[in-house]
């Protein structure tokens, strides 16, 4: 991988890019490492001084924290309260869309929870002279000896919320997403799509053995039938709970028999296909990734609600190369590394649309998130790909989170190339872009950016 970056850099220097650009590229190359999903290993389980307590260590009991998965009623209350705060002249406190890792030993579950922070003044320990974290330990090695290592991008941060964290089993997001989408539409006033695009699909029906019926049917449900027989016989006094059952006394009535029966089921057909594309290169580390992922999670939820579950999603990650990943979980948790070239991502999107003829079947949405950093693109490959994509897509939303490396006040490479290409005016119905300062993001701002990207 490193070789490839060096080649690109070499070419760019030949073409004569400026020194700031080169510095940026070199910085990203330093961050380069293999993309993987983090895994917990023994070093990630180290506890801080104040995380030891008697309950855990003496009584082997992990105190319960309130179950983060709240029922929707409470979530509504919280959001209602948050709205009230705004009217009272205070900033909102509830944040949504966090993904937390729960469960024992590395198994994880993806859930949407309301979270909040309590702010105080406290000392920031992260800045040190040699930029190294240090901790306590014990062992017989001499000074300078390496005692352990872990893959550079498998940095675990323990229980918590945020991107690039957690790992393990996948979890179906859609039911959570539907509720979140409903909340976003209703409470945060995201637009309600009146015209859901031209590709309306009718519901199809299929037949399946999903219903149950008493007395007759296609297949006997043995377990349920047995339960019913036991129940009836307890009532009749033929079985006494706790005592051995005398099978000769048992009476079976036709009503006890449960059958599975063929029934008509609605089969949903996809109405919308959404591509979520994000930059996961080195410069995206931290706040920019958080912002992009929160936005994408919200958009996904909103679409799931708008299209009543009939949404297919595709997830694309890119650094200097693009790849499709299977699910939101992987998309969400993949950690950052490597350099940045944007056009391969859109190339891949176009390729997928063409191969699968998606544009004919459904409404296509593409949302892209990045810190706006793009290694020099002299041939304007990006704008070419975007123009092509605009033919297929209902909406392309570009979201730039300016990070501190490039400076938060100056225009990023991506912004510059989009502006100079005149795409935003030429294709104003299709392409929208919004820019945000990555170091200063709140839920409200992200909702605002979504509104801007979705504006009709």
């Amino acid at each position: 991988m490193k070789r490839k970056y060096e080649e690109i850099l070499h070419e760019l220097i030949k073409e004569g890019v400026d020194s700031i650009e080169i510095a940026k590229i070199q910085w990203e190359m330093e961050l380069d490492c293999e993309h993987t999903i983090e895994k917990l290993d023994k070093y990630n389980n180290k506890l801080g001084l104040y995380e030891y307590f008697d309950f855990n260590f003496l009584q082997n009991t992990k105190p319960n924290i309130p179950n983060p998965k709240m029922d929707i009623q409470t979530l509504n209350d919280l959001i209602e309260r948050d709205k009230q705060r705004e009217e009272d002249g205070l900033p909102r406190r509830i944040r949504l869309g966090k993904i937390v890792k729960t469960g024992p030993k590395g198994s994880s579950q993806v859930v949407i929870v309301p979270t909040t922070v309590e702010t105080k003044f406290y000392h920031d320990n992260s800045i040190t002279e040699d930029d190294e974290q240090q901790m306590g330990g014990a062992g017989g090695e001499a000074e300078g000896d390496v005692i352990g290592e872990q893959k550079a991008d498998q940095e675990g941060q323990g229980d918590g919320a945020g991107p690039g964290q957690g790992g393990g089993e996948n979890h179906d997001l859609s039911s959570d997403a539907y509720h979140l989408g409903k909340i976003l539409t209703e409470k945060f006033e995201l637009p309600d799509l009146k015209d859901k695009g031209s590709k309306k699909s009718l519901s199809k029906y299929k037949y399946d053995l999903t219903d149950v019926n008493k007395g007759f049917g296609q297949i006997l449900d043995k377990k349920q039938t047995l339960k019913n027989i036991v129940k009836s016989n307890i009532v009749l006094g033929n079985i006494t709970p706790g005592e051995e059952i005398d099978a000769t006394k048992i009476i079976i009535t036709p009503d006890d028999k449960y059958y599975k029966i063929l029934s008509k089921e609605r089969d949903y057909e996809t109405e919308a296909t959404v591509f979520f594309v994000r930059d996961y290169s080195g410069s995206m580390q931290g706040a920019p990734t958080e912002a992009v992922l929160t936005q994408h999670l919200f958009i996904y939820s909103w679409l799931v609600y708008q299209y009543d579950y009939r949404v297919t999603t595709k997830f694309i990650l890119h650094d200097t190369e693009a790849k499709e990943v299977d699910d939101f979980d992987t998309y969400y948790k993949s950690t950052v590394a490597g350099g940045t070239q944007i056009f391969p991502a859109f190339e891949l999107v176009n390729q997928i649309i063409e191969n699968e003829q998606l544009a004919l079947k459904s409404n296509v949405y593409v949302f892209y998130g990045s810190d706006g950093d793009d290694w020099n693109d002299k041939e304007n490959k990006l704008t070419k790909e975007l123009r092509k994509l605009a033919q297929y897509a209902n909406r392309i939303g570009l979201f730039v989170t300016r990070n501190s490396y490039g400076g938060t006040t100056s225009q990023t490479t991506l912004e510059k190339s989009i502006e100079s290409s005149n795409l935003l005016i030429e294709l104003r119905d299709k392409i929208k872009m919004d820019v945000i300062d990555a170091n200063d993001i709140s839920e409200k701002q992200i909702i605002e950016t979504i509104k801007k990207l979705l504006v009709q």
Partner: protein, 531 residues
């Protein structure tokens, strides 16, 4: 929640007798409850105080990080709380021998709560009872002022780590300088007001002694009368001084409570009650977070010692050893307060037993001579009881993390660095020096920033705060919201003098530099200026 059964209570009472025999001191009464999972669900957000006030933030997931301990002056899940009587919580399925171990651990904690000087301000009060009164008070206010009570709690909690805990401890122990007229005259009035030289002060003292000598009954009155005649302002000054002593707010929370123009409006006066509740709660928890290592060390020392002496549970040594080892083993990576605390307590005991807590030992230079030094003074027990009475985490670590201690237990500072070639994060032995190990330990202790009010620059519209820089900047993302909260309580602009750390590049690399800045919150946005 229900009390433990009679059988288990009897075991506890047996433990109390044995613990008292070895010198632990605690009240006879204690309450032990069995807690179920659902009890824990309710108790843990309330930091195990069943009567803690309700607050909505406790009902939802708060974004937690490794840094959380810096925000809250309490440990989240205590087995035993510092109340009168002390309350402790247990699983209902612990075997008897395990309960014996836990009981000894708990009793040592109770002994620590009731004897360590850092807890002195909690001795005359039962916090569970007070918390209940506070909870009712807040509920009553909520009935009247609705959601504004929760806003006030929220704003107050933003600064509840800035309470003057140490000055509060000090209050009763301060020498009475300036409390009576004479002492005020010699110690304060002459020196600060009249700016007398030493020579002149001695002369005055002589004059006073003469007056007493010539007439022991009324000499003092005569002397004071003369002063008042000579300095007509003396009496007023003395009264002012007395008032100042009583009223001087000791921290930001008290200052806001007393001086805030917003809180002083008659319709907002109730908010002061909320501020007091939050402040007192924080003060109550303050000693706990500052004695985590020593308290766990003390409890581990005694549960081990007493368990091994207990004749009731013979035969469970193996099962016990397994649990004890998991609790008190030094971690390969990370800091285990039980392990470090226990080793330090044992170290002090060993030092005192051999007479090493003496100048004679300290001036020894050679390693062998230091190793073999032994005066057989056997003062170990006495020494650790002194430790339990007077020491905190910081003083314990600062005084006893010696090179001998670090070497004995193979302790080290581990650094984490990036290895570019192997593309890994490496954990390596950064140092085995006692000084650096001590610094690392001290660095991981709870230590809120020191922020005071500059009264000269403060008026009704502006509150001017000064952060004393201790080589660490404040955590930037939290500044805005915290200042907004203070702004809401003051009802004006908030200024904070603090320091940023910036990396400055030069020819031979780079270094960190402190830059003094003034951050201002004007009610809608933050503004930062370099000073």
């Amino acid at each position: 929640m229900k009390l433990i059964n009679q059988h288990t209570k009897k075991i506890m009472e047996g433990c109390k007798e044995r613990a008292k025999d070895v010198g632990l001191q605690f009240d006879n009464e204690s309450l032990e409850y069995v807690v179920t999972n659902s009890d824990m669900l309710e108790l843990s957000p309330k930091v195990m105080i069943p009567t803690m006030y309700d607050y909505w933030v406790n009902d939802i997931e708060v974004f937690k990080s490794k840094e959380e301990y810096k925000l809250y002056p309490h440990n989240p899940f205590e087995t035993v709380i510092n109340s009168r009587p002390a309350i402790s919580f247990y699983n209902d399925n612990n075997p008897d021998w395990l309960n014996v171990m836990i009981f000894y651990h708990v009793l040592a904690h109770i002994d620590f709560f009731q004897n360590n000087q850092l807890f002195a301000h909690t001795w005359n009060d039962d916090f569970v009872g007070r918390a209940l009164a506070d909870k009712r008070q807040i509920a009553a206010l909520r009935g009247k002022y609705g959601r504004w009570v929760d806003y006030t709690i929220e704003f107050a909690r933003c600064i509840d780590n800035l309470v003057a805990y140490f000055p509060t401890l000090n209050k009763d122990k301060k020498p009475n300088v300036g409390n009576d007229m004479l002492s005020f005259y010699f110690n304060i009035f002459l020196q600060r007001e009249l700016k007398y030289s030493e020579h002149q002060i001695f002369k005055e003292i002589e004059r006073y002694n003469d007056a007493i000598e010539s007439n022991s009954n009324v000499g003092e009155v005569v002397f004071l009368n003369e002063i008042i005649q000579k300095h007509p302002e003396f009496e007023t000054r003395f009264k002012e001084h007395q008032n100042r002593e009583v009223q001087e707010p000791s921290d930001l929370m008290e200052f806001i409570r007393d001086q805030s123009p917003f809180l002083n409006r008659s319709e907002n006066k109730w908010m002061k009650i909320v501020l007091d509740i939050i402040r007192n709660t924080s003060l109550y928890f303050s000693p706990q977070i500052r004695t985590k290592i020593i308290n766990e060390g003390w409890a581990s020392y005694w549960h081990d010692k007493l368990f091994m002496m207990d004749d009731r549970i013979k035969g469970n040594e193996v099962a016990y050893a397994k649990i004890n080892a998991s609790v008190t083993s030094i971690r390969r990576i990370g800091l285990n307060p039980y392990a470090i605390g226990l080793r330090l307590v044992q170290e002090v005991e060993d030092l005192a037993n051999k007479g090493k807590l003496s100048y004679e030992f300290q001036k020894l230079q050679g390693i062998d001579a230091r190793d073999s030094f032994n005066n057989d003074t056997n003062k170990g027990q006495e020494a650790i009881f002194t430790l339990r009475k007077h020491f905190s985490d910081f003083t314990l670590i600062n005084a006893f993390t010696s090179q001998e201690f670090v070497d004995k237990h193979d302790l080290m500072v581990i650094g984490k660095r990036f290895n570019q070639e192997r593309n890994t994060q490496e954990y390596y032995v950064k140092s085995k020096k006692a000084g650096e190990y001590k610094n690392m330990l001290v660095d991981s202790l709870y230590h809120p920033p020191h922020i005071t009010v500059n009264t000269e620059k403060t008026d009704d519209d502006n509150l001017h705060l000064v952060h004393t820089f201790e080589n660490k900047q404040l955590y930037q993302p939290y500044i805005q919201n915290t200042m907004m909260s203070i702004g809401k309580l003051w009802g004006g602009n908030i200024h904070l003098e603090t320091s940023d750390i910036r990396r400055v590049n030069h020819d031979h690399g780079s270094e960190l530099q402190e830059i003094r800045v003034l951050i201002t919150w004007d009610g809608s946005k933050l503004d930062k200026k370099t000073l």
